[in-house]
C-alpha cells in the first residue's frame, strides 16, 4: 500500500479532513455516553430509592425509556452523518454483492436520474456500507459502545423473570423499531438526494472549469482572444 501511495492520495486525505469540520467525533461519542450513564444513574436512584406508587412509577419508567430512545436516536443520527460525510467526500457507493461503483458509472447516473423516492428505495444496487466497517476505517473507538456480555449461571426463576420483563418491554421495543425503520427510510432518501446533488454540482463545476479555460485571461505576450474567435 505504501509503495502505491501517491501525492494525490495524500491530498485527498487532507481535503477529507478539511471537510470533516471542527467538532471532534470523540467528544460527541463521549458526550452521548456520559448522558446515557447519567440517565441510568438517576433512573436507578429514583426507581430504587423513592417510594412511588404504580402509576407514578410507570410514568418515570416511560420517561427514562424516552430518554434512552432519544439518546439512541442521537447516536444513530451522528453515525449516519459520519457515513454520509464519508460517502460524499470519497464518492464511493458499495454494494455487498458488487465491486465498487463510482458515480461516473452510467448505471449509477441513470439510477440517480429517477425522481421518485420510492424508486430509489427499491433500487437494490445502492446500500450504505455496513456501519461496523465504516467505523473500523475511520475511528472505531468513538461512537460505538462496547457491551461486554459475560455468560453466567442463572436460576430458573431469574430466567422466567427476565422473560416476563422482556415481554413487558416488547411494546416499547416494537415502537422504537417502527420509529427507527421510518427514520432509516428518511435518512436513506436524504442520503441519496445528497449524492445526487453532489453529482450534479460536480458536473456543473466541470463545465465551469472548461468554460473558464476557454475564456481565461491571456498571459503576458500571448495573443488576446476575441469573443468572436470562440464562436
Amino acid at each position: 500500500m505504501i509503495n502505491s501511495l501517491k501525492p494525490e492520495n495524500i491530498i485527498e486525505e487532507i481535503q477529507f479532513e478539511l471537510a470533516q469540520g471542527l467538532i471532534r467525533k470523540e467528544e460527541l461519542g463521549e458526550a452521548i455516553r456520559s448522558v446515557r450513564n447519567f440517565s441510568n444513574k438517576i433512573r436507578k436512584e429514583i426507581l430504587e430509592n423513592y417510594p412511588l406508587d404504580g402509576k407514578l412509577r410507570d410514568i418515570f419508567r416511560k420517561q427514562f425509556q424516552l430518554i434512552e430512545m432519544l439518546t439512541k436516536l442521537i447516536e444513530e443520527n451522528a453515525l449516519l452523518t459520519q457515513n454520509l460525510k464519508i460517502m460524499i467526500n470519497h464518492r464511493r457507493v458499495v454494494n455487498p454483492g458488487l465491486d465498487r461503483i463510482h458515480l461516473d458509472n452510467p448505471a449509477v447516473r441513470e439510477a440517480f436520474a429517477s425522481t421518485a423516492g420510492e424508486d430509489l428505495l427499491l433500487n437494490q444496487n445502492y446500500y450504505l456500507l455496513n456501519q461496523e466497517e465504516i467505523l473500523k476505517v475511520i475511528a472505531p473507538k468513538t461512537l460505538k459502545i462496547d457491551m461486554p456480555i459475560t455468560k453466567g449461571r442463572t436460576s430458573l426463576t431469574t430466567k422466567i423473570k427476565s422473560f416476563l420483563k422482556l415481554l413487558y418491554h416488547r411494546p416499547a421495543f416494537f415502537y422504537t423499531l417502527q420509529l427507527g425503520e421510518k427514520q432509516e427510510k428518511i435518512n436513506t432518501i436524504f442520503g441519496y438526494w445528497l449524492m445526487k446533488l453532489y453529482t450534479n454540482s460536480q458536473m456543473q463545476q466541470d463545465q465551469i472549469n472548461r468554460l473558464n479555460e476557454q475564456l481565461s485571461i491571456p498571459e503576458k505576450g500571448a495573443e488576446k482572444r476575441e469573443l468572436k474567435d470562440l464562436l
Binding site: M1, L5, P7, R24, E27, E30, A31, S34, I138
Partner: protein, 766 residues
C-alpha cells in the same frame, strides 16, 4: 443600510495606569469603529488620571468613590450610551476583531450576553485562562474547556449550570443589563461576572460564551492580590463564593442541604489549598494563620450577607439610564482602521521606525522558536518577526510546544500547539508524514482562529516540515513559502531511501507549487529546489531575500589584534557534529595544521548527531570518541564543548581568531554571518549559498568541499599572515552591516507580502 450597533467599552481601573495606557493604545487597532470608551477610575493612588489626561478628547472618565468592582461596573452602565456594553480589564489587550465579533454575535444570534476566551500571555506563566467556562448556582465552576460537550453532564452538587463569561472579556446588551439591575455591588472583586450571568438567565435572557473573540491578559497586581505570587486577600473570594451560592442556590431552588454542603466544600477546598502552599513553602507559618483566619471570617460574613442582606443592584428608576434617544457617542477611533502600527502588549512599546504603508498582520510558521532551543529555521523566523515588528507590523508565530499557550516575546505573539495525533489515521504507518500532516492541520485550525480574532492576512511557511501545507491547499489565505534545503537533498546526502521521506519530499513539492510566492535565502537554494522538484519558476512568483541578523554592539566586535605577542591561535567550529557539516574533513585537517602551528587551539561546539546521520550505526562510535581514537596526539589541543547556549556561543565567537565551517552543503550559511558579526574571518566551502555570504579572499577563504588538505592549507595560510586575519574580519563585519542586517531582511519580506496581497486583492475584485 442596517443601523450599526454601538458599543460602550467600559474599563474599570484602579492603581494600574501603566497597563491601562497599553489597553487604550491597543483599542486604536479595533476593526469595529462604532464604540466609545468609558474609564471608571476608583480611588487610585498612582498616576492614572495624569495618563488619562492625554485621552481627554476621546474618552469619558467617571470616578468611583470606593474600591468596589460591582459598583464601578454599574457606574459604567449608567453612563454608557451604546447599545452594547463591553467590559475588559485594565491589564488586558483585546484581539483586533474583538468588538467586531461581539457585535456580530449579539446582533444576529438572539443573545443578550456573550464573551470570548482569555489567554494569559506573560512569558512567566502563559496559559489558557478561560474558555467556554461554566458555573453552577452553587459557585462550582470549570474555567477551561474545548467545547461544551466536555461538561454535558457536569460534575458537581448543583443541578443548574450555565455557560458564563469572565470579567476580562464580556459584553451585554445594555437593555438586558438595565432590566436585571446590572451588577450586585456586594461583589467587590470576584464572582460579579458569574452572578450577573445567572441572574440574566433566571430572567429569561440568553447568555452564552464563545470560543473565539479572544482577549490577551497580562495579569497586573492590585490591592487584592500580587500577581505571580500567593499573596492576596483570598478570604474575599470565599466570602463572595458563599454569598453567591446562597443567593443563587435559593433562586434556582437548590435544596438547603446542597447549598450548605456547597459552601462547606468551597471553604474546605480553599483551606486545603492554603495547607498545600504552606507545605510547598510558598508562604510562612504566620501567613498561613492569617489566611486560615481569613477563610473563617470570609465564610461567616459571606453566609450572613447571603441570608440576611438584600442585593444591591442598579436601580433603573433612579438612574438617568432609562433607554431613550441615544446621545451621540464620543467615538474613540477617529483614525481610519488598520492605520496604527503594532504594539507590544507587555511593555507598551511601539516601533520607532516610520511605517511606509498600512501595517500588515502576518502569521509566521516555525516548528521551533525561542525561548525554546532553536536552530536554523527557528532562528531565521525569530529575526524576521523582530524585524517585521520594528517596521510596524503585527506578527503572530505558530510553533510547537508542550501545552497550548499564547505568549508574547520579542515582537511577536507566539502560539504554541501541543502535538495532537487525531487525524490521518490511514497514514499512521508513515510516522514522519503522519506527524507532519497532523501538525500542519493543527496549524491550519489555529490560522482559522487567528483570521477570526486577529485578522491575519498572510501566512509565511518554511518548506521544511511542510507546516503550511494544509493551509495552502485550503486556499483560506495566501501562503508564502520560504525555501530551505529540500528534504530530498538531505535524504540523498544521508543515503536515506525510506518511503516516509520520499513522500514528504513529494509533499514539499506540492507546497512549493501551491505557494503564492517562493522566497529563497540564496540563489543556490532557489536553483537547488527548482532542480530537485522540477519547478517551473516561470509560473511561480519567486525572489531572494538574504538572511539578516542583529548586529552586535561595536564594543563586542573584536577583530584579530594588530600586535599580539606569541600568537596562539584559536579556531572555532560551531554546528552539529554530522557529515553534512564537514566534521570529518575538519578532523583530518587538524593534525595537518598542528604540524605547522602546534600551539593552535581548536574549539568544537555543537551537539553530536552521529545517531541521526548513521555514523554511529556504521562505525559504532560517536564523533568525539572517533576523533580521540584516530588522532590521540591531537586530543590535548582540541576541546569538545557539546551543545552551547546562545550566550556561550557569542562568547566563543568573540574570543576566537578564526571560524571554520567546512560544510558539504549549506543553503545559506548563517553561521558565517554570526562569526562575521564579531569581526572574525571565516573559512567555508564552495557549495550551496556560502559563496553568496562569504566573499572569497576578502571576508574569508573558500575551499572545495570534501578536501581536508585544502582546508588545512587555507588555515595555515591565514596564520602565516595575521594581518590578513584582521583585514578579513573587519571586511566581514562591514559586509554584514551593508547586506545582512535583519531590518533589511524584514523589508525584503514586507515588499513580498504587500505584492502578494495586492495580487490577491485584485483577483478577488475581478
Amino acid at each position: 443600510m442596517k443601523n450599526q450597533l454601538s458599543v460602550s467599552v467600559v474599563i474599570n481601573t484602579i492603581d494600574r495606569g501603566s497597563s491601562l495606557i497599553i489597553l487604550l493604545k491597543s483599542l486604536e487597532n479595533q476593526t469595529y469603529p462604532f464604540f466609545e470608551v468609558l474609564v471608571v477610575v476608583g480611588p487610585t493612588r498612582d498616576n492614572t488620571l495624569e495618563i488619562l489626561a492625554a485621552y481627554r478628547e476621546r474618552i469619558r472618565i467617571i470616578r468611583c468613590p470606593t474600591a468596589n468592582l460591582g459598583k464601578s461596573r454599574n457606574l459604567g452602565i449608567e453612563s454608557a450610551r451604546g447599545d452594547i456594553v463591553a467590559f475588559i480589564d485594565d491589564d488586558a489587550v483585546p484581539s483586533i476583531k474583538w468588538l467586531e465579533q461581539i457585535v456580530a454575535l449579539l446582533d444576529s444570534e438572539g443573545l443578550d450576553g456573550t464573551g470570548g476566551c482569555v489567554f494569559l500571555i506573560h512569558p512567566a506563566s502563559p496559559q489558557v485562562q478561560y474558555r467556554l467556562g461554566i458555573i453552577s448556582s452553587l459557585a462550582e465552576q470549570v474555567d477551561v474547556q474545548e467545547s461544551f460537550l466536555s461538561s454535558i453532564v457536569p460534575k458537581g452538587l448543583s443541578s443548574f449550570w450555565i455557560g458564563r463569561m469572565m470579567g476580562t472579556n464580556m459584553a451585554y446588551k445594555r437593555s438586558a443589563l438595565l432590566e436585571v439591575g446590572g451588577f450586585d455591588e456586594f461583589f467587590r472583586w470576584v464572582y460579579d461576572d458569574s452572578d450577573l450571568a445567572l441572574r440574566l438567565t433566571a430572567d429569561g435572557k440568553n447568555v452564552r460564551p464563545v470560543k473565539e473573540a479572544a482577549v490577551y491578559h497580562i495579569p497586573g497586581s492590585s490591592r487584592n492580590r500580587q500577581a505571580f505570587t500567593y499573596s492576596g486577600k483570598w478570604w474575599m473570594q470565599t466570602q463572595a463564593a458563599i454569598y453567591f451560592a446562597i443567593k443563587n442556590g435559593r433562586n434556582f431552588e437548590e435544596s438547603y442541604r446542597s447549598i450548605a454542603w456547597g459552601c462547606v466544600k468551597f471553604f474546605l477546598r480553599h483551606l486545603l489549598w492554603d495547607i498545600q502552599i504552606l507545605r510547598g513553602k510558598k508562604i510562612s507559618g504566620p501567613q498561613f494563620i492569617k489566611l486560615f483566619l481569613g477563610e473563617f471570617y470570609g465564610s461567616l460574613t459571606g453566609a450572613g450577607y447571603g441570608f440576611f442582606r438584600a442585593r444591591r443592584l442598579l436601580s433603573v428608576s433612579n438612574s438617568s439610564t432609562t433607554y431613550k434617544e441615544k446621545e451621540a457617542l464620543l467615538m474613540f477611533n477617529k483614525n481610519p482602521r488598520f492605520s496604527q502600527p503594532a504594539i507590544d502588549p507587555i511593555s507598551g512599546q511601539s516601533p520607532s521606525i516610520k511605517i511606509t504603508g498600512p501595517p500588515l498582520r502576518i502569521c509566521l510558521l516555525s516548528s521551533a522558536y525561542p525561548p525554546a532551543r532553536i536552530e536554523g529555521v527557528g532562528r531565521h523566523t525569530h529575526l524576521m518577526a523582530k524585524g517585521l515588528f520594528e517596521l510596524g507590523h503585527t506578527v503572530h508565530v505558530i510553533t510547537r510546544g508542550d501545552h497550548e499557550t499564547i505568549t508574547y516575546y520579542d515582537g511577536a505573539y507566539i502560539h504554541s500547539l501541543p502535538f495532537e495525533l487525531r487525524r490521518y489515521e490511514r497514514l499512521r504507518g508513515l510516522t514522519n508524514l503522519f506527524h507532519n500532516l497532523n501538525y500542519s492541520h493543527q496549524v491550519h485550525d489555529k490560522i482559522v482562529s487567528l483570521i477570526l480574532n486577529d485578522g491575519i492576512e498572510i501566512v509565511d511557511s518554511p518548506l521544511w516540515q511542510i507546516d503550511g501545507l494544509v493551509t495552502a491547499l485550503s486556499g483560506r489565505l495566501p501562503v508564502v513559502v520560504r525555501l530551505q534545503t529540500a528534504i530530498k537533498t538531505i535524504a540523498h546526502l544521508h543515503k536515506n531511501t525510506l518511503d516516509d521521506f520520499r513522500i514528504i519530499g513529494e509533499m514539499e513539492e506540492i507546497l512549493a507549487k501551491k505557494a503564492r510566492f517562493l522566497v529563497a535565502n540564496s540563489q543556490a537554494t532557489l536553483e537547488a529546489v527548482e532542480k530537485i522538484y522540477s519547478l517551473d519558476l516561470e509560473d511561480i512568483p519567486h525572489g531572494i531575500v538574504s538572511h539578516g541578523i542583529v548586529p552586535v554592539a561595536d564594543e563586542q566586535v573584536s577583530p584579530f589584534p594588530i600586535i599580539r605577542p606569541n600568537p596562539q591561535f584559536t579556531v572555532l567550529f560551531l554546528g552539529r557534529l554530522e557529515k553534512r557539516k564537514g566534521i570529518m574533513d575538519l578532523f583530518q585537517a587538524i593534525p595537518l595544521v598542528l604540524r605547522e602551528f602546534p600551539q593552535t587551539k581548536f574549539i568544537i561546539a555543537g551537539e553530536d548527531n552521529s545517531d541521526h546521520d548513521e555514523f554511529k550505526m556504521k562505525s559504532g562510535l560517536d564523533y568525539i570518541t572517533y576523533f580521540q581514537s584516530q588522532y590521540p596526539e591531537c586530543v590535548s589541543q582540541v576541546e569538545f564543548k557539546g551543545w552551547v547556549s546562545d550566550e556561550a556561543a557569542s562568547e566563543l565567537y568573540r574570543t576566537c581568531d578564526l571560524f571554520v565551517a567546512p560544510s558539504l552543503y549549506e543553503s545559506f550559511g548563517l553561521i558565517y554571518l554570526e562569526a562575521m558579526n564579531y569581526g572574525k574571518p571565516v573559512i567555508g566551502c564552495f557549495c550551496g549559498g556560502v559563496p553568496e555570504v562569504v566573499e572569497h579572499k576578502r571576508t574569508g577563504l573558500l575551499v572545495d568541499p570534501g578536501a581536508p588538505k585544502a582546508l588545512a592549507e587555507a588555515v595555515i595560510s591565514l596564520f602565516r599572515s595575521p594581518g590578513v586575519l584582521r583585514e578579513m574580519g573587519l571586511a566581514g563585519r562591514n559586509r554584514l552591516l551593508d547586506k545582512f542586517h535583519y531590518l533589511k531582511m524584514a523589508r525584503g519580506f514586507e515588499r513580498i507580502y504587500r505584492e502578494v496581497l495586492s495580487i490577491s486583492l485584485s483577483h478577488s475584485n475581478s
